[in-house]
Symmetry: C2
Amino acid sequence: MSRASRASTKDKAAAQAVVGPAIVLVRPQLGENIGFAARAMANFGLADLRLVAPRDGWPNEKATAAAAGAYATVDSATLYETTELALAKTNYVIATTARPRDMVKPVMTPESAAAELLSRQKQGQTCAILFGPERSGLDNDDIGLVDALVTAPVNPAFASLSLPQTVLLIAYEWQKQAGPGGLGRATRFDGPAREGTPLPNTRPAEREEMFGLFEHLEAELDAHGFLRPAEKRPTMVRNIRNMFHRMQLTEQDVRTWRGIVSSLTGGKRRNP
Amino acid sequence: MSRASRASTKDKAAAQAVVGPAIVLVRPQLGENIGFAARAMANFGLADLRLVAPRDGWPNEKATAAAAGAYATVDSATLYETTELALAKTNYVIATTARPRDMVKPVMTPESAAAELLSRQKQGQTCAILFGPERSGLDNDDIGLVDALVTAPVNPAFASLSLPQTVLLIAYEWQKQAGPGGLGRATRFDGPAREGTPLPNTRPAEREEMFGLFEHLEAELDAHGFLRPAEKRPTMVRNIRNMFHRMQLTEQDVRTWRGIVSSLTGGKRRNP
């Protein structure tokens, strides 16, 4: 097994180590939005979709179409007549709201909600996040069933997030904290990307290689009369060296630059 | 001017203190997606939308419909024939990609990209984020024009984010770091919500009030023979007190509980 595919297997195991919270859509109106929400859940590693009295019944063709491949999430969605029934077996519930409610109840950001959910899911608690109907949001009776509220940091002048957008943000913050840490799609040969600068088939240049390039370039620049007048030479050399340092050259890059300098000075032809 | 409305004015000033990066959609295919992207931008305080050769021309009715109120963002969008022209006056550009590219170029999370963009915008640099066409993403020539890549932490097995979803995540991370810090919609009477437990028209209970409630309740429980046998009384009392502490009672809540105890023991009638 290659190192890359072993890392990828490990990633998958880590991703599945903690079960995510249930996403509970209360009286959703549009099938498309259920589908978009399912897609966002699949994108960010959530699987437990619960529907309370969807307006247009269930199953819903528009939901399946909008899920754009996240069919398993749509197909395994469970249906409930009331919010109470959907939450019956949960231990901790957070509700999404777009505006402050006159209730003495903790308000969290999506980020802090994800941290709280992760901590509780790790302890084996079953958690859920409640989302209200598109037009009105959750009513105060539904809000009365939950432990805390989550509200996103939005532009207060244009604060209206759509239902699937809200599911996406919550699921994204969950994945950020609970996921395997990879970025983007896993390719056939590598796992997902990692933060930082990848160096495929090469390595950062060593100082000795950089110094060799500097001497080569500066000797040619001296020979061509570029580094004049003499009193300005030290500053000019330092500036040029600093530009090369900012490039963060690889070993391959240094060889490319040696070739460029040789080529421009006629010392070597690429294809003689 | 009330304290709440002063805070709200201050929020607005802070929100506008740093100009956000431009969102550049390269050869977008669906007008709806341009509209959804514009809405997400408005939700998270971004205003500069640039379109490079949109497939169905510009303006586009479907974009306006999908913007769902973010008309200013759609109407002020600027149109370019090439990516180079759209980026001409920018200083720093990040491209969104769904998969690692074989390029020696820094890869960032949406979070670290937002931090880098904020730092540069504060220095007066003009920054942009590049998004590719729905079907294919950015081609390698477009990627060759940018300083860094940004990729979201997704479920590697279902990594495909839609164009407006990707715009939403990037804009959300921008707002998290650059925004005024409020949560959700500003209401007419209050500013946006804040993290923590709001206490409208009340305050956390003082210990003295809690102790008064405990004595009242425990006296009644003793009188009714609940706290027996005697050797278990201290544990029972501690457990009950701890439940009340976990409630984080307000001053109003303590009065409610005193009323409940009086009511249940027949000592007082609510409506005599």
